[in-house]
């Protein structure tokens, strides 16, 4: 099995730095951006930008709207939520000491739950 396609999910899509740049640009701008605007801002060729946008479209991170001969791209940030939710779990590992206590408590709770499930107290 080869590497998963970039269009498989958001995690694969945002692995590419230019695609994160595109997301950042769309977030910073009030209004939807035409492809040409992004081309200029990113200093990349038009086909390259269009292809990155196609990936972001397929995973739903951006949406398009036609306006004349332009395509206006808009951020659909909610699709980033899986990434946020996953990584947020680990915030506690580098934030204050108080949180570290909480972290420890959660670990112990997890252990107890696991031990209960399989009456096998071996470490996971």
């Amino acid at each position: 099995m080869p590497r998963a396609a970039t269009t498989t999910d958001v995690f694969n899509a945002i692995a590419e730095p230019r695609r994160r740049q595109i997301i950042d640009l769309l977030a910073q701008s009030t209004r939807p951006q035409a492809v040409g605007d992004l081309v200029e801002a990113l200093q990349l060729s038009q086909p390259t930008v269009s292809k990155h946008l196609a990936v972001l479209r397929k995973v739903g991170v951006v949406s398009v709207r036609k306006q004349g001969q332009h395509r206006l791209y808009e951020l659909n940030a909610v699709e980033l939520r899986p990434v946020h939710d996953w990584v947020k779990t680990y915030e506690q590992f580098w934030s204050g000491q108080l949180s570290r206590i909480k972290q420890r408590a959660e670990k112990l709770a997890a252990e107890r739950a696991a031990a209960k499930k399989s009456s096998n107290s071996q470490e996971l």
Copy 2:
């Protein structure tokens, strides 16, 4: 230029679901885990697990310690911080209405800053 290596940065490393599973397992367990434990938990072949661990090692997300013939893997979650920090910016897009007001204010501030930089009030 092909796709960036999985070992290029954390974003590429965590694109692979099994590597995220490994991270999750290491986070849930109190103690460092031997490769064999992960093999059993993930139901993957030993070489596959070892290779995923090698990727996570190279980007610093896990650290290893020898204990006899075992290698004990431990999570180094702080290396996930770049992902967290990047995606956290977008939290506002799906959290409560109050935050959305704040979001709008930040956009306007960004616009003003951009306009100041290039005395060109065209939209970015």
